[in-house]
């Protein structure tokens, strides 16, 4: 256990950067009103610099871990006592182990790329400095989430990223619907947060500590604690569903596309939505000790993968396709977790961050070049106008669809292999995963085809599509390289190469793996592995080919399919009618209840009671007032009656 306080810099510099950018934003507001220099221009320097510092410290920390002995790969920071609550104090301290190092590197590196990209994308926006303030705040919160040693710090980060997500989705709130989208995201996250809180209460009750290392130790020591542990695991998974957009809490993610594209790339592809996966991997013994919960996790993941992929087929908005694709890929990660393959889930997390981030940034470049056009049916033939973006997007789509050799192929295939290896009911999950993979290839090449190939379905002279400036295309290139090469982190065992990422994460995932191994080892024979590898490659290539060629001449195939099977088309387009069902079954009754409360209860009951008290008092006072009529005789009467009553009271008490 080495103590290394510069760890705190990873969090504090983005926090400070956010504050400075906020000040710059306030200054620029004032400057705009009175005229003069725009101090907001400095904001990207501050913000990127802050993230850069975080990245540097993360790299240094990673190097320290790399150099350390495998059994002692932890760096800690000093502890800060936040709440001194007698026998249950709440401390804040940072814990940098292999899992945290991977997450930090992903967050800071991709965060830095997206910050640089945003300089070009958000240029000219009046909230330029505010954007960077929010982005830095988000990165700080996410880092708190992954670095925190106890559940309280994790929850602080959890809520922080939720807040920043809300702020950034509703960044252009003047338009109206982004604000509603932000609210929707926040409320659905809240439902997950409630489950998370209750789950963590149960964990604290079971293991008498907020420290996640203590919980992990406790859970791996005696995994048969029974019902309470299962319930806690289930509730924590509920929290993860909210944050990571799994069924049934995923409908906020497509709406979140109302935010600027860099936000979609950073928050809703690469980092925030991976918080749920991080939680499950961090507390893997808790979940491994509850096989029922793992089953639920796997099932929900598979279902979500299918829903996401099938819905992405019918989307016309370029960001909509990518949003549902994210939902689907997150489903894959949970499928991996459900099969006990914690390392595979993290592997897919890393590769997905690379290629989905790439795809989102590329889509942003397209939108930017097409002057805010997002409908793919009004694009086409853009590869001539935006060659670099085209190249980047092709690489991204190839990785997403799992074309052999690219990063997505290895990570997705590993997940499917682990699922297949579990056998039994998991064969069904595997089949669903395979179908989703096919759909994934299909829709990703549909996107490429509609956007970049075929005839231009718009007026070229009026729109003038143009390539994006280098500040936007360079991050694209970097991510493209990563999307291609990240596969080396996790090559399959048949190739007789060690799985880099799983080995690196072994100290963290070992407790869970040990518990699962006690239930029975699952192994795939080499033959089975080769077959699965080939199957994956074949399906990807086949459906990519079909998807590409169906749409080279525009979206005509979509319309034909919609005509032949209108109900299926609508069902798929509406995310299996989840959104409208929620609106009908949950939102409408709540609104009705609120209306009833506000008009009936508030006006008649509460106001009636209050006003009624006043009216009653006035009426009673009016009656009592008549007693003081000035008549001496009645006064004499009441005096006599009163004293007689008092006398009787005295005598007979």
């Amino acid at each position: 256990m080495t103590l290394w306080d510069p760890l705190w810099l990873i969090i504090l510099t983005p926090l400070l950067g956010s504050a400075v950018c906020g000040v710059l934003h306030a200054l620029s507001l004032r400057a705009r009103r009175s005229g003069g220099a725009e101090p907001g221009r400095l904001a990207p320097l501050v913000a990127c610099g802050a993230i850069g510092v975080s990245l540097l410290v993360s790299i240094v920390g990673f190097a320290k871990l790399w150099g350390a002995d495998a059994s002692a790969r932890v760096i800690e920071s000093s502890t800060w006592r936040w709440i001194d609550a007698g026998a249950f104090p709440i401390d804040l301290s940072l814990w940098f182990d292999p899992l945290a190092s991977v997450m930090c590197l992903v967050i800071t590196f991709i965060g830095l790329l997206i910050h640089v990209y945003s300089v070009g994308y958000m240029k000219g926006d009046p909230g330029f400095a505010k954007f960077f303030a929010y982005l830095n705040l988000f990165v700080a919160a996410m880092l708190v989430l992954v670095l925190s040693r106890n559940l309280v710090g994790l929850f602080v980060g959890w809520e922080g990223v939720g807040l920043c997500s809300y702020l950034l989705i509703g960044f252009w709130y003047e338009k109206g619907w982004p604000a509603k989208a932000g609210q929707k995201a926040f409320v659905m996250n809240r439902i997950g947060d409630a489950c998370f809180l209750i789950g963590s209460f149960l964990l604290v009750d079971l293991f008498a500590s907020l420290d996640m290392q203590a919980i992990v130790a406790g859970a791996s020591a005696n995994p048969d604690v029974g019902g309470k542990l299962t319930l806690a695991a289930l509730l924590l998974f509920g929290g993860a569903c909210g944050k990571s957009a799994q069924f049934p809490l995923f409908t906020w993610l497509p709406d979140a596309m109302a935010g600027p594209t860099p936000v979609s790339a950073l928050i809703h592809a690469a980092t925030m939505v991976t918080a749920g996966i991080y939680l499950l991997v961090r507390l893997n013994p808790v979940f491994a000790a509850s096989p029922e919960v793992l089953f639920v996790v796997g099932g929900v993941g598979a279902l979500t993968a299918l829903i996401g992929a099938s819905t992405a087929l019918m989307q016309r908005d370029i960001k909509g396709v990518l949003a549902y694709s994210t939902v689907s890929q997150l489903g894959y990660m949970f499928l991996a977790l459900g099969s006990g393959a914690f390392g595979a889930a993290v592997f897919h997390l890393v590769t997905h961050a690379c290629f989905k981030g790439l795809l989102f940034l590329g889509a942003g470049s397209v939108i930017h070049g097409m002057h805010e056009e997002q409908d793919m049916t009004r694009m086409g033939g853009l590869r001539k106008h935006m060659p670099r973006t085209f190249l980047a997007m092709v690489i991204g789509a190839a990785a997403l669809s799992g074309l052999p050799g690219l990063s997505g192929y290895f990570s997705k295939d590993e997940i499917l292999a682990h699922t297949f290896a579990n056998g039994g009911f998991h064969y069904a999950f595997w089949a669903v995963g395979l179908v989703s993979a096919a759909l994934t290839a299909f829709y990703s090449w549909r996107l490429i085809s509609l956007t970049f190939f075929g005839e231009e379905r718009f007026d070229v002279d009026a729109v003038h599509p143009h390539e994006s400036p280098p500040v936007m295309t360079v991050p694209l290139m970097v991510l493209a390289v990563l999307a291609v090469t990240a596969g080396v982190l996790g090559l399959p065992p048949v190739l007789h190469v060690a799985h880099g990422l799983s080995t690196w994460l072994a100290p963290v995932t070992e407790p869970g793996r040990a518990i699962l191994a006690a239930h029975g080892e699952h192994h795939l024979s080499h033959t089975a592995e080769w077959i699965l590898l080939g199957l994956g490659a074949g399906i990807a290539l086949l459906f990519a080919h079909r998807g590409f060629h169906t749409y080279t001449s525009g979206a005509g195939a979509d319309d034909a399919a919609a005509e032949r099977r209108p109900q299926l088309a609508r069902f798929l387009q509406d995310a299996w009618t989840l959104d409208s069902s929620y609106a009908r079954l949950i939102v409408a009754p709540v609104k009705l209840g609120a209306f009833l409360l506000s008009t009936v209860v508030d006006q008649f009951v509460i106001d009636g009671a209050v006003n009624g008290a006043a009216t009653t008092t006035r009426q009673v006072a009016g009656r009592v007032r008549t007693w003081t009529d000035g008549s001496v005789k009645s006064y004499a009467l009441w005096m006599t009656a009163g004293s007689a009553a008092l006398f009787c009271l005295w005598v007979w008490s």
């Binding site: 008549t626 007693w627 003081t628 009529d629 000035g630 008549s631 001496v632 005789k633 009467l637």
Partner: protein
């Protein structure tokens, strides 16, 4: 006098209730004040009766007469003030009826 003290109390009760009756019923303020004096006298009589009850030859209880003295004193003061008020009222209203003094109605 060998009359039992209860008989004194009986007389006091009768006088008191007559005083209350007059106090409540009569409209002339002078008569009302007179009824009050009657009530006070009845109280005096009962004080004395009580003192008589608790006296023995060796130990005469004198709380009764002392109290009665104070009652007389207070009654005198009260009668004086009451009659002064009646005079002032008469100057204003040219009457001493109880119903004629309803100025302070609420």
């Amino acid at each position: 006098m060998n009359v039992p003290s209860e008989h004194l109390l009986v007389v006091a009760t009768i006088l008191f209730s007559m005083g209350v009756l007059g106090f409540l019923i009569r409209r002339n303020l002078i008569v009302v004040l007179a009824s009050v004096e009657l009530m006070l006298n009845a109280a005096n009589l009962s004080f004395l009766a009580g003192s008589r009850m608790h006296s023995t030859v060796g130990n005469v209880n004198l709380d009764g007469p002392v109290f009665a003295m104070f009652v007389i004193l207070v009654a005198a003061a009260e009668a004086a003030v009451g009659l002064a008020l009646v005079i002032a009222l008469f100057r204003l209203k040219q009457s001493v009826g109880a119903e004629d003094t309803c100025e302070l109605r609420g």
